[in-house]
């Protein structure tokens, strides 16, 4: 899956996802990606977020919507993303998932659920302070 969040210099936001889903899935299975609030969410008044991972679990918690709501309440994007991961961890400690978050000032963050095989999450950033797309990593929690 690719999940993407874009914020224009005017503060306008958009978000989106595209995926071919899970390998060997049951025919007809749709995951979190095309569900607003699950795969991605954007709101000019707060920010935008996108999620990736095990969509069967993620979609139950509407992670992108939740992350935007945390940012609406003033949380830093890193913290917003972490809180979303923590919410899911309580019920599914071994879930595979990561979230990216950005608020309307252009601050951004990411978080992921730590597994033996998934300890860091890589995401891409490009903003006016950079001269090229930059790979960043965050430690999973």
């Amino acid at each position: 899956t690719i999940g993407m969040v874009v914020i224009h210099k005017t503060g306008r936001t958009a978000a989106g996802t595209s995926t071919n889903g899970l390998k060997y899935k049951i025919h007809g299975r749709v995951g979190d990606s095309p569900i607003p609030g699950a795969g991605a969410y954007a709101d000019d008044s707060a920010g935008a977020a996108a999620a990736t991972g095990d969509g069967d679990i993620l979609m139950r918690f509407l992670p992108s919507y939740q992350a935007v709501e945390y940012m609406r309440n003033g949380e830093d994007p890193n913290i917003a993303c972490q809180k979303v991961i923590s919410r899911i961890q309580k019920y599914f400690p071994d879930f595979f998932g990561a979230v990216i978050c950005a608020n309307v000032t252009g601050s951004y963050g990411a978080s992921c659920n730590k597994l033996p095989t998934f300890t860091q999450f890589t995401f891409m950033v490009y903003n006016s302070l950079k001269s090229q797309p930059t790979e960043e990593k965050v430690d999973c929690i």
């Binding site: 899956t1 690719i2 999940g3 993407m4 969040v5 874009v6 914020i7 224009h8 210099k9 503060g11 306008r12 936001t13 958009a14 978000a15 989106g16 996802t17 595209s18 995926t19 071919n20 889903g21 899970l22 390998k23 060997y24 899935k25 049951i26 025919h27 007809g28 299975r29 749709v30 995951g31 990606s33 095309p34 569900i35 607003p36 795969g39 991605a40 969410y41 954007a42 709101d43 000019d44 935008a48 996108a50 999620a51 990736t52 990216i100 950005a102 000032t105 252009g106 601050s107 951004y108 890589t122 995401f123 891409m124 950033v125 490009y126 903003n127 006016s128 302070l129 797309p133 790979e135």
Partner: protein, 182 residues
């Protein structure tokens, strides 16, 4: 100095980031940028989890899911289980722009895509077909079934819930006894 504009995306899909940024900084809208970025991954397949030729389902088919959301208007366009259309995010954008709906799914989403000018084509590749064949040869492991017969941890399907095998017999007998025949 404001850090805006900003493009952020999951995983190290650098070309997608570049495409979105280029669109944004050349006068495109945020929706244009998201669509351009995601389209790059649909074409390049990124890590195999985006676009055609990846993640075959149990029948060997690749279907696509995508969504695009405008944070200014709160408009959304999305497709789920899109069959035989490569540019899923493009179709999602058409759902957003040309309908008052949010989500279209399956074969009906494909019909909609065709009406919007998208090409109906096979999304499998030799690679996805090989993945599927290997999976069948491994007794369909792993899979996403549980509480079925035969045991999904050991065998391929088709599967049924254990109770239905008994229920089917009883129902069939009742029908034969009570409702006659053609």
């Amino acid at each position: 100095t404001s850090p805006l504009p900003l493009v952020l995306n999951t995983w190290p899909f650098k070309n997608a980031t570049e495409a979105a940024w280029r669109m944004l900084t050349s006068g495109g809208s945020t929706l244009d940028a998201v669509e351009s970025g995601c389209t790059v991954c649909e074409k390049e397949q990124c890590d195999g989890t985006v676009g055609f030729g990846g993640s075959p389902d149990e029948f060997g088919e690749t279907t696509l899911d995508a969504m695009i959301m405008d944070g200014t208007t709160m408009n959304v366009g999305a497709v789920g289980g899109l069959r035989r259309i490569k540019n899923a995010i493009g179709v999602a954008r058409k759902v957003l722009e040309h309908t008052t709906h949010t989500l279209l799914v399956g074969e009906s989403a494909t019909k909609f895509a065709e009406s919007m000018g998208f090409t109906n084509e096979d999304l499998t590749t030799s690679s996805s077909r090989a993945l599927h064949s290997d999976w069948l040869a491994r007794s369909c492991q792993p899979n996403y079934w549980r509480n079925v017969i035969p045991d999904a941890s050991k065998y391929c399907g088709p599967y049924k819930p254990p109770s239905i095998l008994i229920q089917d017999d009883a129902t069939y007998k009742e029908t034969r006894n009570n409702y006659g025949h053609d």
